[in-house]
């Protein structure tokens, strides 16, 4: 019994990997849909967008990359659909060098679905390095930070940018944040100084980190990780369908998480049971 447990405990990790792979693949191939509720952080994000008057302009900082795409792209798509269908104009920029090739095509696709034209309804200002400095600079003076948009048009000649000088000229900043630099830096550098309304969609990893900001009113809404995106999808596409080319990936994925989490929990459970049954008695743990 003892050495059986020992062997069980020290089994080749590749078996565990294989188990994980199955835990992900099976529910993807044979989907099971569960109902899920929308928590207050996400719904207040949704409401913040709902509350925007038609014709107003929001700033989106799309700070994510392929690595965080699964978690954030669903939110990003749903959010764009939400904004465009409310006839809200979008000024987009990014602090992540790997973001433009993802963010721009998606935006173009959804803008097209709503018959929105570039420069009048939305603009992509491009990428800026410099992390905190870039954010500070966005807070201070956007035309200076982005003298031209990503297509090389001077911002002065872009309709959307008309009358916009700095971050506080936007009724809402939406930050799709995959880490550093992201929501934390936006909050630290400019939210307080200029008293901005920032809504954030972040990866699960940074979720617990940003909740204090939400509770302290430094964020008007927070959508964390796959569940956040799924809940936002649920809200946005409650009675309408996603635009062409968009699929409710988060809603699908969040149901796959079920098994994945269950698997990890069971592993922790069995691991500990085996450990406590087999550990030598003289080693005392405080």
């Amino acid at each position: 019994m003892y050495d059986l447990l020992q062997r069980f405990q020290n089994m080749d990790r590749r078996w565990i990997f294989a188990g994980m792979a199955l835990a992900i693949l099976i529910p993807l191939l044979f989907p099971v849909e569960f109902e899920f509720a929308v928590d207050e952080r996400v719904s207040s994000l949704y409401d913040a967008v709902e509350a925007l008057p038609t014709g107003s302009t929001v700033f989106i900082s799309a700070d994510f990359d392929p690595a965080s795409r699964p978690e954030l792209e669903p939110f990003f798509r749903a959010n764009l659909d939400h904004l465009f269908r409310k006839d809200i104009k979008i000024v987009m920029a990014t602090l992540w060098e790997f973001a433009p090739p993802i963010a721009v095509p998606i935006t173009e696709e959804i803008a097209a679905a709503h018959g929105k034209e570039y420069g009048v309804d939305w603009v992509f200002l491009g990428y800026k390095p410099g992390k905190e400095l870039a954010i500070k600079s966005i807070g201070e003076n956007i035309p200076k930070t982005f003298p031209t948009d990503s297509r090389g048009t001077p911002v002065g000649e872009i309709a959307v940018m008309n009358g916009i000088k700095q971050a506080k000229d936007f009724p809402l900043l939406i930050n799709v944040s995959a880490g550093f630099p992201g929501t934390r830096e936006y909050v630290l550098q400019i939210q307080g100084q200029y008293d901005l309304k920032i809504a954030s969609a972040c990866t699960a990893v940074s979720g617990p980190d940003y909740i204090p900001f939400y509770k302290a009113g430094q964020l008007v809404g927070l959508s964390a990780g796959m569940p956040g995106s799924a809940q936002y999808e649920k809200l946005v596409w409650a009675e309408s369908e996603p635009p062409k080319g968009t699929r409710k990936l988060a809603t699908q994925a969040v149901n796959v998480l079920n098994l994945g989490h269950a698997y990890v929990i069971l592993l922790i459970l069995f691991g500990n049971i085996a450990y406590f049954l087999t550990r030598p008695k003289e080693v005392s743990d405080d």
């Binding site: 020290n10 080749d12 990790r13 590749r14 990997f17 992900i24 693949l25 993807l28 207050e40 690595a67 965080s68 795409r69 699964p70 978690e71 060098e97 790997f98 433009p100 090739p101 491009g126 990428y127 800026k128 390095p129 905190e132 400095l133 500070k136 982005f146 003298p147 031209t148 990503s150 090389g152 909050v187 630290l188 550098q189 939210q191 307080g192 100084q193 990866t203 699960a204 990893v205 979720g207 617990p208 980190d209 900001f213 509770k215 302290a216 430094q218 964390a224 990780g225 796959m226 569940p227 062409k244 080319g245 990936l249 699908q252 994925a253 796959v256 998480l257 994945g260 989490h261 990890v264």
Partner: protein, 313 residues
Amino acid sequence: MTELTQFDLVGAWISIFLTLCILSFLYEDNPIYKLAEHLFLGVSIGISITEIYYGVFKPNLLLKLAGGRWLSVIPLILLVMLFFKVSKKYSWVARTPIAFIVAAYAGVKLTGEANANLMTQVAQTMPDLATSWAEHGFWDWSADGAGVFSDVVLVVGLVACLVHFYFSRVPPSVTRYGAKLAIFAGVGVMFFTAAGLLVVDKAGPFSAVFLGMLAGVCAAMPFLAFSTYRPWVTRFGVLMLMLSFGASFGYTVMGRISLAIGRAQEMLGLTRPMEQVVQIHPRIASLVSIVLIVAFLVVWRMRGGGPKEPEPS
């Protein structure tokens, strides 16, 4: 239905193959993984520099210089000085631009952090016990357990955590009187608050006394923290920390699995619109790639590849 170009079809297959190359690291460190990894490094740096050029050098420097803005000469000079970093002999020249950027960061972060991470967080940890008692009572399930209990836990918890991160040695005189002071402070604040609440008429007599007690607990805690009972207080702080870390543990696991799911969706062709899937056949691509990689690993192993001694597990 949009016809995909050969270009894209090949690309889609390659991307699936590369995905599996990386995953082969799970079996063990092997040449295909190394290859994919170095490919990744090269391409990613290439992309960064490209985006940097179009993101900064062009709009913020070159175009401005071309526009005859004399002030933009200064950053140009600084930039040139920065590049001296690569030379062993003259690397000191680069110190000036580095100093500039480090100083700018320091100044910007300093005020930002102090404001958002210190002031605001402190200001927001001052719950209005009376109001939340009126609104939620002691514990309100419907509002995720809001209520005076949570308020007190928040305040006491934060105090306890801060004390856990208090590293100076506390003078014994303080330690000796800590407990007594705690009692005095607690009782004093309790009466003060209760009386105050009655005066400003924010609560009934019973509630006033009860809330007074809670306030008393909050007030007593700091003194207790510097008394001989310090270990208990810090232990509570550690408890809070552990709950918090547990939360981020759970969230991190979720995040990582989500990424894996994303890759799986890609390989099963769930991310693309149907019309593309029928042209690409991602599942076939995945199978083919798996076969190729496994075949390679087998051959490689037979030709004496892999770790010198079997990896114990």
